[in-house]
Symmetry: none
Subunit: 215 residues, 4 copies
DNA sequence: CATGAATGAGGTTTCATTCAT
DNA sequence: GATGAATGAAACCTCATTCAT
């Protein structure tokens, strides 16, 4: 019984190492089992296949990420409408910092998902998060345009802005190792993004620099 | 005689297809040869190994890209100092469009290099281009700060901005299939980037939205 | 169940045949598997690689050889001092015959190791056994010279003599197929070797023919 | 025209290097041609195949060796009968030194033939030289026994002695790099061999140490 | 719960050799 | 005299996966 968990846990830990180190495609199930001191049969008792193993390894990180993103962007629906208009970035900055903090707590795994998951079902994960954001912004701008009587920004701008936000996180993660520095950067970034949002409603024509978040 | 070029060409064409379709790691030399109706020995007559084959397949695209980027960013050194200060983005927009046009002419290959080249020597190519830009911006801001007697933006900002420009191209490529639409978008983006540059010198504190586009 | 041992055993047997017949370098793993009616994957389940397969095939023979040589040359340290001086070869002859008997019981494999193992880690195995002997003779002559107050033979003589003994075995093996004849020959040879040892201490100048057999 | 020889010569030189360095089996014709800056077709113009190339590379060395051995062992027939009986080794020593000198002038190639020619037609070359000697000794002992009315040594003794002489050379070559030292050693060795020969006729039973060359 | 065995297809690379030109 | 192209076989090895036990 004490081995029941032990084996699965060992497997997960070794799989994690192998995936992070070699990337999904080059990771070897045989190697993982060897490291874990277990036969491949054991692995296949717990996991259906390579993909499933990765899902198990990345699951926790991924669920947490989903949750925190959803939390962040559900809250926004209620409160951001006002603050966004007022150009107040403080809440967004707080949200971004929380997400970033989470990302850095799962640094290796997140980095894997974003840059080394080619060949797995997660190879387009950044896009999927962007989609979440896009839907969110769609609802948000819907609300805003209804309240203020101004036209919604066009679809592509929303699409773009969503990806940009994700990319901002990806970029920071892949280029800034220390969380502290990252937190400094994210503050600047969000400021611009929010300013961009404000601009997206204020009319891009008149004032480029205050308009669409430049990315 | 009719086969002289045919075999190598066939090989390159089939390799191209295979690489683009499956990515570098999953592409199979055997499969390539089979498609080309040739033995693997023939492949190894023309190419040293898988990496070399990829180099041959991507070579043209890559050389052209290098050239156009270098052309673009050499010109900037001479002329951009003024225009950057004046907030005039027209020249930059023209450059960006030219680059983008090139990228779309080599759409599939560029996309491969940026997103499916994991495992090959090109897996960090985006970073390498960003480095080129970074060096360029380093020289450019050097000039500007000398002429205007204002301090250079800090190193990290330059680093960041360089990556951001590359990412902008990557992003457009990976998310906008039609060149026409892409050209529209790039115009907006560059405007903000240029505005950002102006801001990077003008001081971020006073005017967020006109500041350096922090991505 | 009936196949449990069968496969590995079959593999070992076929590998043995292939190695002996073609030599290490020309032996083909594919061929071995084909002969064994097994896929290459099966081979690689039991053995890490070609070298490991050879080690498994030759292991038993080699361990036994090591053991018998060590046994022989450990005994010598205790008893040979006297007999060597007395020119009594009877014990050495007995030892040599035992070793030779072992070699002939593993005739093919030993012959392989000595003449067809090029390219494997055993390609210098004769030298390695010679080294064992050299160290042994070094200790032995140390004892003798201490007891008798005569100078040790020079280093090169020891080196040479060690190789000579090994070569004697190799030579007999490679040129005399029947063990009976070989046993006759080894008797003569050892007599001379022992006489040679006596000579090496007695002074070569005075009596060449009784001196150390310089090969 | 100046290239005619040049190409063949270059090929031979590079082949020599490759063979010596990697051994026959691991030597690569492709590698040889590459080093020579020539295509494989060119190689096949001059040489029928790998074996033929080796023959061309080793030819000179081998012919010379054949010649010097034959010269040595033809002279012996006439003169050695007496000296052998008288136990005079001086002529043999001189012969051995000449052969050894030749071997050291062709050190690398000889070493290759003796230890790295596995897989080629030369893999048993030492045996072939031993056969030459054996035939020679057969004739020699025939003469001697006729003149002196003593029985010929048995066939195996002749066989053995012949191999021993060859082995003496092989062993020196593989274990003594400097010719000077080798010449010292060969002197001792030949003395014993000659003494052995004398003993082979004088009766092995009575005097072991003067009898069969101990090796 | 896990082993141990085995599959079968596939991977990249290297080889000696041939031959039309 | 030599090239350049191509063959075809074979090399060693690794993979994810399956399954009876």
């Amino acid at each position: 019984m004490p081995d029941e968990k032990a084996t699965k846990e060992k497997l997960l830990e070794c799989a994690r190492q192998e995936f992070l180190e070699k990337g999904y495609l080059k990771a070897s199930l045989r190697g993982i089992c060897q490291k874990a001191g277990v036969t491949t049969g054991a692995l296949y008792f717990f996991f259906r296949n390579k993909e499933d193993l990765l899902a198990a390894v990345a699951g926790e990180t991924l669920r947490g990420l989903n949750q925190i993103i959803r939390a962040h962007f559900s809250r926004e629906i209620d409160t951001d409408a006002r603050t966004a208009l007022a150009g107040d970035a403080s809440e967004d900055i707080q949200s971004a910092k929380e997400i970033l903090h989470y990302l850095y707590r799962h640094y290796d795994m997140v980095l894997f998902l974003l840059t080394k998951s080619q060949g797995s079902s997660y190879e387009t994960i950044a896009d999927r998060f962007a989609d979440v954001l896009e839907q969110h912004y769609d609802r948000l701008t819907e609300q805003l345009s209804a309240r203020l009587g101004i036209p919604k920004p066009d679809r592509y701008i929303l699409h773009w802005a969503s990806h940009m936000q994700i990319d901002a996180f990806v970029h920071i993660l892949t280029h800034v190792e220390e969380e502290e520095k990252a937190l400094e950067h994210i503050e600047q970034i969000v400021s611009y993004l929010v300013a961009g949002w404000a601009g997206a409603f204020g009319g891009r024509k008149e004032n480029h620099s205050a308009g669409f978040p430049s990315r």
